[in-house]
């Protein structure tokens, strides 16, 4: 299932500078078809900035982002149209729209009905609208929100708001989904449910790039994990590689004072999870 053909997403040497501050420094990453890739790192490591570079919210100072072998334009809506959807770290739903309307907004790029079609309401309009609604309801069904379709998004409990954000992102028929801390603030049961949701999304053939702090979540899900520290990617690989990497341990726990004993298998990088 790994990268045999050309990768879905190919990031080469992305650097983002804000004045004198280099938030992301020469990061390269590839995401293959049907892969789940994790992106971890301490707070302020530049993970979200990196996401913003991918989705056109920021224009990277250097480097290129190619999706399906096409360079992505630096405009968020064009990136979404190309097939990359995202969620936000701090939930950004359309709070005063209903759950269904939120998902319908996600359909925007995949529908064409313009203003005249809306005024004239011909058969084509009704067909497209019905299709959108069916698709949106299907996604709500998929995320388990179907019975709340007519609620205002702001009235949903926290966990369901996260799910709704994912449903809204899926509505644009993406090939790659970027999840920014999908389990932040969730309890263990909700995190388990989120894991299953992510697997279910992958089974639909959608690749996923996920930022997370919850190590168990990351290592359960991801085929590969990249570690970002101070804007630089220090290591990328499977669970073993990442967990045993000295620099990762240093980044999370600080440098040992003396000749430190080798990290105890499996537990050390998971430390941030305990602080949550």
């Amino acid at each position: 299932m790994t990268t045999t053909a050309a990768p879905l997403l190919e990031v080469t040497g992305v650097t983002m500078r804000f004045g004198g501050l280099t938030a992301v420094n020469d990061v390269s990453l590839t995401v293959g078809e049907g892969e789940i890739i994790g992106l971890i790192g301490p707070n302020g490591a530049g993970k979200t900035t990196f996401f913003n570079c991918l989705t056109g919210l920021y224009v990277p100072t250097e480097g290129t982002v190619r999706y399906r072998d096409v360079q992505l334009p630096p405009k968020p809506h064009l990136v979404t149209q190309a097939g990359i959807a995202r969620t936000f770290q701090n939930i950004r739903l359309f709070a005063n729209m209903t759950v269904l309307e939120n998902v319908l907004v996600g359909r925007h790029t995949r529908t064409k009905e313009g203003i005249f079609s809306a005024i004239l309401r011909g058969p084509g309009y009704h067909r497209a609208e019905a299709e959108s609604r069916a698709k949106a309801m299907e996604l709500l069904e998929f995320t388990g929100l179907a019975d709340k379709a007519e609620h205002l998004a702001r009235n949903l409990p926290y966990g369901e708001q996260r799910k709704l954000e994912i449903a809204r992102a899926l509505a644009s028929d993406p090939g790659l989904l970027l999840l920014d801390e999908p389990t932040a603030g969730m309890n263990p049961q909700e995190t388990r449910a989120a894991e299953e949701l992510v697997f279910a999304i992958r089974d639909k053939g959608i690749s996923i790039l996920v930022i997370e702090h919850d190590m168990r979540f990351i290592f359960n899900l991801c085929d590969r994990t990249a570690v970002l520290v101070q804007g630089q990617k220090i290591v990328e690989g499977d669970r073993e590689t990442v967990q045993n990497d000295e620099r990762v341990i240093t980044a999370y726990l600080g440098a040992p004072l003396e000749e430190a004993a080798p990290a105890a298998e499996g537990t050390t990088p998971a430390a941030p999870e305990d602080t949550k």
Partner: protein, 643 residues
């Protein structure tokens, strides 16, 4: 905050039966006083000197008394009237009684003030006053929905310093001779301090009353409405709209300001009473069920307005209300749906009006052409839309306050440009401040809108014709608003309003959609402008300013949208009607007109921050926060999200 607990107790401890009897007696007395003379002289407007023939304010007293009686009997469970209070709360009676008291106290007070003294009251006037008081006293004795405790709120204590300051400034003003240059400044200061003091005392009085009355809301399950045959339901809707038409006609036709204020004083508590009684909720359920009928009934009610008028005096007012309301609806697309604060919107009305005037065949127009009506309309709308795009393209890259500032500037640029295209400071196009006069009347398929026509035995004058034409334009704008608002485009606008970054991340081209909203709004305003040019004969630049005492201007348009309810159709229509009528009818207050108008706006926005007719979203937005800790069983999403 403690959780609010509620109880059902009277404010004034009276036996329930006695209280009900007292309320009924008061209401009857008020209604009966309408048939008596209130004053001996016909000097008071409306001539209230006759027995047995109510006039002016007396009609209001009659209506208020009867309404209170019906609501009271309904809440007492009298068979045949129980439909009047489906919510089963006595608070409805109290609100209706308040309306009665407001009408009676206001009538008596204005008679006493205008004719100098209470001696001018006839027995009818005394019956009226007593009736109003007894009604409210009785209603306060009914078991009302109340909170168990309301802590007394005190306004910022420093504000009470105004109370001793007011007499000091007053004496200061009088101590200084009038010829000193500071005298007018001090007079203004004294006036300001006096008004501020009054406001502070009023607010504190309100807090005191709130603590004493402790009125609250108890949610009772609304009984399922009795299944009515659908023709009866349709009939109810039609009757309701008929009543609405009658009420608005009455409001527009008020010949003197006193009566209009009386109307407002009556309408406020009455609406509150109807809401509390649950009748509005019932009606809303019916209108949702029979939407086409409702739309038809509203349109028919509006169309039949000219047929109720004997002269053109008020149809001209109504025509201008429609123009104002239509433009407000256009602005609602820009502000209410897409969330773009546009402070120069009236310029688009002006562009439409000027375009129509230039191609109208007016002798003052440098272009000597006379377009047929439809072509003129399309020209106005198209030119206005082009201006919308030209102004929008550079400005819509700004967000929030910056956009507001820039649009404010563009609104003024339009007006000044029109002033300068006068042949001396620029090319001769618009005749500068003289404007384009003598715009001929429209002729549609040989039908001259300038001449009176007789339809079904009723003569429709010039303004009635334009009213009906404008009503068609309004209907078109309503249709466009409704259809676009509830479509892919409308959803994208609302998404941009809610969170532009997230909307763009969902694939919405923010700039293009904002430009579309701007252009559509401009186009609709231009459409209204083409009719306005013909209605008012003359187009001048000073009709299109940012703020003025009379609508339409940008500030009033925005106020109409916000006051009425953002993002809805009926909201701006209602808001525009009120905003047009209030200043018009307050003209008798002369210098205090704007002061009273401002006070009215403050009160309205304090009572209903979400607008007169809010959309369901905004109602939630404003009133959820007011009830912080209600144990509704709903998970507290917001607190967790904030963590």
């Amino acid at each position: 905050m403690t959780t609010t607990t509620t109880e059902t107790t009277p404010v004034i401890p009276l036996p329930a039966r006695a209280a009900a009897a007292l309320t009924g007696l008061g209401a009857l007395a008020t209604a009966a006083s309408a048939a008596m003379a209130w004053t001996w002289t016909s000097d008071f407007p409306g001539d209230l000197t006759f027995y047995g023939s109510p006039a002016g304010l007396q009609w209001l007293a009659l209506a208020a008394g009867l309404l209170t009686l019906v609501v009271l009997l309904g809440s007492q469970g009298v068979p045949g009237l129980r439909w009047a209070t489906p919510a089963g709360s006595n608070n409805a009676v109290l609100y209706a009684a308040t309306g009665t008291l407001a009408v009676s106290v206001y009538s008596v007070a204005s008679i006493a003030v205008e004719l100098d003294g209470l001696v001018n009251l006839e027995p009818g006037g005394w019956v009226l006053a007593a009736g109003g008081l007894i009604t409210v006293l009785g209603a306060l004795g009914l078991p009302l929905d109340r909170r168990t405790a309301v802590p007394l709120r005190i306004v910022d204590k420093r504000l009470f310093l105004l109370v001793p300051a007011a007499p000091l400034v007053w004496f200061g003003t009088h101590a200084i001779p009038e010829d000193k240059p500071v005298a007018p400044v001090l007079t203004a200061l004294a006036g300001g301090v006096a008004i501020a003091t009054g406001a502070v005392l009023l607010v504190q009085l309100g807090h005191l009353a709130n603590t004493w009355l402790r009125l609250g809301k108890i949610e009772r399950p609304l009984d399922a409405p009795r299944a009515l045959p659908s023709w009866v339901e349709v009939l109810v809707i039609i009757v309701a709209f008929g009543l609405g038409l009658f009420a608005i006609t009455f409001g527009i036709d008020t010949e003197y300001g006193e009566l209009f204020i009386g109307c407002l004083l009556f309408a406020g508590p009455t609406l509150a009473a109807l809401t509390k009684s649950g009748l509005i909720a019932r009606l809303r359920a019916l209108t949702v069920k029979h939407r086409p009928v409702t739309t038809g009934a509203a349109f028919a009610a509006a169309a039949s307005f000219p047929f109720t008028q004997s002269s053109d005096q008020y149809t001209s007012v109504a025509t201008n209300i429609l123009i104002f309301a239509t433009v407000a609806l256009g602005l609602n697309i820009v502000v209410g749906l897409a969330g773009l604060l546009d402070l120069g919107y009236v310029a688009f009305l002006g562009v439409g009006a000027y375009s129509a005037a230039l191609v109208s065949g007016s002798p003052a127009s440098p272009i000597h052409v006379q377009f047929p009506f439809w072509a003129a309309m399309l020209t106005g709308a198209a030119v206005s839309m082009i201006f919308g795009v030209i102004i929008g393209a550079p400005t819509l890259r700004l967000r929030g306050d910056y956009l507001a500032i820039v649009t404010l500037g563009f609104g003024e640029i339009f007006r000044i440009t029109m002033l300068n295209l006068n042949g001396t400071t620029g090319p001769k196009v618009t005749n500068g401040s003289n404007g384009i006069p003598r715009i001929p009347d429209l002729e549609i398929f040989g039908f001259d809108l300038g001449k009176p026509h007789t339809v079904a035995g009723i003569e429709l004058g010039r303004f009635s014709n334009y009213y009906l034409l404008m009503l068609l334009v309004t209907a078109v704008v309503v249709l466009i608003f409704a259809r676009v608002g509830n479509s892919r485009i409308g959803r994208a606008w609302v998404a941009i309003r809610e969170d532009e970054t997230a909307a763009e991340a969902m694939g919405i081209n923010g700039f293009r959609l904002k430009l579309l909203a701007f252009a559509l709004g401009a186009c609709l305003a231009g459409l209204a402008g083409t009719v306005q040019a013909h209605v008012s004969y003359t187009v001048t630049p000073d009709q299109y300013t940012f703020a003025e005492a009379l609508p339409p201007n940008s500030a009033f348009l925005l106020a109409a949208v916000i006051l009425g309810g953002m993002g809805t159709i009926s909201g701006p229509l209602a808001g525009a009607t009120l905003l047009f009528l209030i200043p018009k009818k307050l003209e008798f207050l002369a210098d205090y007109q704007l002061l009273a108008f401002g006070a009215a706006l403050i009160v309205l926005m304090r009572v209903r921050p979400e607008g007169l007719i809010p959309n369901r979203r905004q109602q939630l937005e404003f009133h959820e926060a007011a009830i912080p800790a209600q144990p509704t069983g709903e998970p507290t999403a917001l607190t967790k999200a904030g963590a």
